[in-house]
Amino acid sequence: MESGTKGKVIEIQGGRGLCARFNAMGIRPGVKITKISGQIMRGPVIITVGATQVAIGFGMASRIFVEV
């Protein structure tokens, strides 16, 4: 996970359920996302995907792999 910048999703390491949930929000391999902020103590991560801001729990967020 990168910090404060844009990146492109390469891979989502998760089972069917997780991938489906990410998918529904438009987070999938090949999509460009921007990280807006993280919260202290491994709190939720906020990213922009498309025109939406989404908050993702830290554990879930760390399953998303990006290339900057």
């Binding site: 998918n23 902020s37 993280g38 919260q39 939720p44 025109a51 729990g57």
Partner: protein, 567 residues
């Protein structure tokens, strides 16, 4: 149908005239609502469904949406109005394509059209219609633009014939979007920069603390203001003389007098203590509670419609994980501050049964509804912070500790937060006031009959000596444990029926500050009011209710005794 927070409920309200609550965060609608367009032979039934991102549901609320769709498909003469957010076309079309594969005609209401234009997105609606093969009507639900056209074209809804491979759905969406959407890039506005401030932890948390403190202050200000400037004068200067005249007309000491007027305190009516149907029975809901209900829902509605709630959820997520929940659980908790019933229902936005149980039980134990809170303020207010603070702190501590125990002892995982954060919107004043009015109306509708019946009932209990009877049995326990007089048992019993009335029953007992604190805490914690009880059973089942109830009673006993010892 459509994604959460796109304007489905607003369009529903426009179409049917049925007032539904719509807010600026995902998760407002958790159950379906029905209404009609037209009447007689031309009556069309319309159903407002909870939002969902795809037809694979992730929470009970989303499951409701899918169930509604299935029901509509089975009914064979239904259509789907797919409400699509024009500012998020790509993600919304994902659901659209899924809907089009189902055996049901669809048409699209391309909502938030004005906002899309505002941020530089322009969509060729006609082209989209050509590409998809189903009608596409741009709408601005909050102003009503496009609704007429939507209604006139309802008959043109078509079954989707767009062919695509399921796995390639996103590529298809991409292709479609490329054909119809152009985005003019707009620079980060000041508004957006401020918005980012509210969510970055270093600036966001102080802002959140300020906001929450301000909210408490404003609610108290408006509540007390309305009471001292409006309801007290009305009750004291207009109603009391009227009731005194009535009192003189009725035979003093008779049953009718007792029921309608209640006891005369010092030869006059005391609205807090007399306990007649037309005295206390009217004062409690209208004089003491309504001002706070108004204040609370005004503040809550602004909070909801501005779009701040999901950001608050993100900031508080770490705190909520202490009790086994994630940030969005703040929504049911906040709703519970108004009334536990919508609070329990709102737990449908949480994904697992474990979360819903924890959330529902915690709010029943330690979140007093505004009716109760208003009465507590009325009773303890004169002692200022010395009286109110211990109650607040104790309840919060119970919330944290019990929640933490739940997290450790109840089996299962704590899912993480995963929510969309909507754009900040300036609340539309007419819509906001309509929403506040709806909630007040609902409160009056629910509370007033119950309070009136409750006062009547209490008088009967007193008249037949039941309260003194029970007081003598249970009294010694509560006296020893909580330091409360025997008569306080009556309040505990009525607490099952209505919490505000129960607090009201403490008034004539002449309790000191410490006793009032203990009594208020015990009343909040001991058992939910009958309305909450009913919705708890409906949402979580009888077994969970029994579990929750036993936890509530034991903890109320423990905490009450503890408070009695240390205060």
């Amino acid at each position: 149908m459509g994604n959460p927070n796109v304007g489905k409920s607003v369009i529903f309200s426009r179409l049917t005239g049925v007032r539904v609550i719509a807010s600026n965060y995902p998760g407002t609608t958790v159950e379906f609502c029905q209404g009609c367009i037209g009447s007689g032979v031309n009556k069309i039934e319309v159903v407002d469904a909870p939002g969902t991102y795809s037809l694979e549901p992730n929470s009970p609320a989303e499951k409701v949406a899918v169930a509604i769709l299935d029901r509509a498909i089975a009914a064979k003469d239904s259509i789907v109005i797919n409400v699509v957010d024009a500012t998020n076309l790509e993600r919304n079309l994902n659901l659209t394509l899924q809907l089009m594969k189902k055996e049901i005609p669809v048409l699209i209401a391309l909502n938030l059209w004005d906002e899309a234009k505002h941020i530089g997105i322009s969509i060729d609606a006609e082209n989209l219609e050509k590409v998809l093969g189903i009608p596409v009507i741009p709408t601005v639900a909050v102003t009503g633009e496009g609704i007429k056209e939507l209604v006139s074209r309802l008959g043109q809804a078509k079954r989707g014939e767009y062919n695509y491979v399921d796995d390639e759905r996103w590529h298809e969406v991409g292709r479609i979007v490329d054909k119809v959407q152009t985005i003019k890039h707009k620079h980060h506005t000041i508004g957006e920069r401020l918005g980012d401030l509210t969510i970055h932890p270093w600036t966001g948390i102080p802002i959140a603390i300020l906001v929450i403190a301000a909210l408490f202050f404003i609610i108290r200000l408006i509540g007390e203001g309305l009471i001292s400037l409006l309801t007290d004068p009305i009750f004291n200067n207009i109603w009391r003389p009227l009731m005194m005249r009535l009192s003189d007309m009725l035979v003093s000491g008779s049953l009718i007098h007792k029921i309608i007027i209640g006891q005369l305190i010092d030869g006059s009516i005391d609205f807090g203590q007399s306990f007649g149907i037309l005295t206390t029975g009217l004062y409690v809901p209208f004089g003491a509670v309504l001002p706070y209900i108004f204040a609370f829902y005004l503040v809550l509605s602004v909070l909801e419609d501005s779009g701040y709630l999901p950001r608050l959820a993100v900031l508080l997520d770490n705190v909520l994980h202490v009790i086994g929940l994630h940030g969005m659980a703040i929504v049911p908790m906040l709703l519970a501050c108004g009334c536990n019933v919508p609070g329990v229902m709102a737990t449908r936005i949480l994904e697992t049964k474990r979360e819903r149980f924890i959330a529902a039980t915690l709010m029943s134990i330690s979140i007093p509804c505004m009716a109760q809170t208003a009465m507590v303020f009325g009773l303890l207010g004169k002692h200022g912070l010395r009286g109110l603070l211990p109650v607040l702190v104790t309840l919060f501590a119970v919330w944290l500790i019990t929640g933490n125990l739940f997290k450790l002892l109840v089996k299962g995982e704590s899912p993480e937060i995963f929510t969309e954060i909507p754009a900040y919107r300036l609340p539309h004043l007419p819509t906001l006031m309509k929403k506040v009015w709806m909630r007040i109306y609902w409160f009056l509708h629910e509370a007033v009959p119950f309070v009136l019946v409750g006062v009547f009932f209490v008088n009967l209990l007193y008249a037949f000596g039941i309260i003194s009877f029970l007081g003598n049995i249970i009294g010694p326990f509560t006296a020893r444990a909580f330091g409360l007089p025997f008569e306080a048992v009556g309040a505990l019993l009525i607490g099952f029926f209505r919490k505000d009335l129960a607090v009201g029953m403490l008034a004539p007992l002449g309790l000191n500050v410490k006793q009032l604190i203990v009594a208020c805490v015990v009343l909040t914690m001991s058992f939910p009011c009958i309305a909450t009880f009913a919705v708890f059973v409906r949402e979580l089942g009888v077994i969970d209710m029994i579990k929750a109830a036993s936890i509530m009673i034991t903890s109320a006993f423990l905490v009450g005794s503890l408070l009695n010892l240390i205060l």
